[in-house]
């Protein structure tokens, strides 16, 4: 009897060990980009950091809808590993000499870090909800705060509301919306009411740049919402990725043709000695992109974001 029990215990232990093995392998494989070097459960996310040689990847959750939040090549920080961080520079085409910039969502900190690197006079505020992300960006992704680049731990919408309440209100030349969770953008950072608050912080000749995915029906709703709030919105469509940048200029900002965008990109490319090709970004401008006719504006009252995101975009 005792013997049999001993065997059962032994078998159970083997099974547990096997299961453990399967689970931990699954964990490493899910990232698909190297070895898991850091794992942290924060208040908001299950954070995974993978490393493959000098390439570090940030991921939320094990099988997230957004495959990679951020990716950095530590041996060449100037290299844009993911297309969207490069596309986010399209804001400079509208406002070539920004003095103040607001970025919602830190991630690996690539966008604020690179903007800070090229534009020495630029003051950047970053609103990031998760304090763990700031720690991880600093520890693993080569991100540094300094006197001109500050991270504020706050929900993006609350940060904007607080900034609006300050006297006098500080206006931003470029606002980059890049707040993502493992799923997509939180709904309260996509609605008409939210964008109206953003508009309140935007300089008259400034521009709002939003990182979105263009392969689903939520894109139409987002574009429609931007058009409703800002009157104008241009789209830079990713080539290697399903990312797109919505660029909505303020009332005195320009509307660009592809030729104008390329012309401006050439000047910026030379002036800042950009290590990537801003011309390819400018050429990704699609001036004719319009939302589907039946797309509806997203509001605080009605924003079926998860549902729309799951629907493929009709062309």
């Amino acid at each position: 009897m005792k013997n049999r029990m001993g065997k059962a215990v032994l078998i159970m232990m083997f099974c547990a060990a096997g299961l453990w093995q399967v689970l931990s392998v699954g964990e490493a494989a899910a990232g698909g980009s190297g070895r898991l070097i850091h794992k942290k459960d924060s208040l908001y996310h299950r954070i995974f950091v993978y490393r493959d040689g000098s390439v570090v990847t940030l991921q939320f959750g094990r099988r997230p809808a957004v495959p990679m939040q951020s990716q950095v090549n530590l041996s060449n920080l100037r290299q844009h590993m993911l297309e969207y961080t490069m596309l986010s520079f399209c804001g400079l085409l509208y406002k070539p000499e920004p003095e103040r910039m607001l970025v919602l969502g830190l991630g690996g900190g690539v966008i604020p870090r690179e903007m800070r690197y090229y534009l020495a006079e630029l003051e950047i505020d970053v609103a990031e909800i998760d304090p763990e992300i700031r720690t991880i960006a600093t520890e693993f992704f080569g991100f540094r705060e300094d006197d001109k680049l500050k991270v504020h731990i706050d929900d993006g919408r609350m940060f904007i509301k607080k900034q609006l309440g300050r006297e006098p209100t500080v206006k931003y030349d470029i606002v980059i919306l890049d707040a993502f969770n493992g799923d997509y953008i939180p709904f309260h950072l996509m609605t008409k009411e939210f964008l109206e608050e953003v508009k309140g912080l935007l300089a008259a000749d400034g521009v709002v740049v939003a990182n979105v995915f263009y392969n689903n029906r939520l894109f139409d709703a987002e574009l429609k919402t931007f058009l409703t709030v800002f009157g104008r919105c241009q789209v830079f469509v990713g080539g290697d990725s399903t990312n797109a940048m919505l660029a909505a200029p303020g009332p005195t900002g320009p509307t660009l043709t592809v030729r104008e965008a390329v012309g401006r990109a050439k000047i910026l490319q030379r002036k800042h000695k950009l290590a990537f090709d801003l011309l390819t970004v400018a050429k990704r401008l699609r001036p004719k992109t319009r939302p589907a006719p039946r797309a509806k504006v997203l509001t605080d009252d009605r924003a079926p974001v998860n549902w729309l995101r799951a629907q493929e975009r009709r062309r």
């Binding site: 208040l43 908001y44 909800i129 929900d155 993006g156 919408r157 609350m158 509301k161 309440g165 939180p186 709904f187 309260h188 609605t191 009411e193 939210f194 605080d300 009252d301 009605r302 924003a303 079926p304 998860n306 549902w307």
Partner: protein, 209 residues
């Protein structure tokens, strides 16, 4: 087990189920109601909204238990449901001033969202919480049945709560939130009115007999 008239019993359980549905519908939507003002942080969702609903329900159970001992408990229940429904119908109109006011008072996402959740959802949830104890009392004619009836009401109204959660989160988000809350409120007002009409006239008949 159930000693009241069969159809009356079905009606009572149905009322408990409808209220169970609305409590969870409101809880799921509550997270969305507060997000524009206080974000969607874990404090708002797990702390404020769920916490306020639990506390308000417990107060409602207590009040409902106390009311169930009174002779005019049916009228009390009808009035409670009408009041809860009226509150929900009016809620879309005072959500913004309440949340803006609390936010501008300088309260953060923790205490601000907790206070806002109390102000917005405390009263209707408390009123909906009074239903279950009253329903148990109505169903029970013999003390030995009380546990069975309590189990029946809790089980079925909780299943309805589950359905309310899933349907709201999966499908009702596709339509206007304000509309959903207003329609729910209107249904509660109608339900409360029906209880007042039917229940109170029965009570009067019972008195005559």
């Amino acid at each position: 087990m159930v000693r009241a008239g069969k159809w009356q019993a079905v009606g009572i359980i149905l009322i408990a189920c409808i209220c169970g549905w609305f409590v969870m519908e409101l809880e799921v939507l509550g997270v969305r109601v507060l997000a524009p003002y206080f974000g969607s942080a874990v404090y708002v969702v797990m702390g404020s909204v769920i916490g306020v609903f639990l506390l308000s329900l417990s107060a409602g159970y207590m009040l409902g238990g106390w009311l169930s001992r009174r002779a005019n408990s049916k009228r009390a229940l009808g009035i409670n449901l009408m009041a809860a429904g009226g509150w929900l119908c009016a809620m879309p109109f005072f959500t913004e001033p309440v949340c803006e006011g609390i936010f501008n008072a300088g309260l953060d996402e923790k205490w601000g969202s907790l206070l806002a959740a109390f102000v917005l959802f405390g009263v209707p949830t408390l009123l909906l919480g009074t239903v279950s104890p009253t329903a148990v009392r109505w169903l029970t004619r013999r003390a030995s049945d009380s546990g069975l009836n309590a189990g029946l009401v809790l089980a079925l109204s909780t299943v309805a709560s589950f359905a309310g959660c899933v349907v709201t989160a999966f499908w009702l988000v596709l339509v206007s939130m304000r509309l959903t809350i207003c329609v729910s409120g209107a249904i509660l007002v109608a339900l409360g009115g029906t209880i007042l009409l039917v229940g109170v006239s029965r009570e009067a008949q019972g008195d005559r007999r």
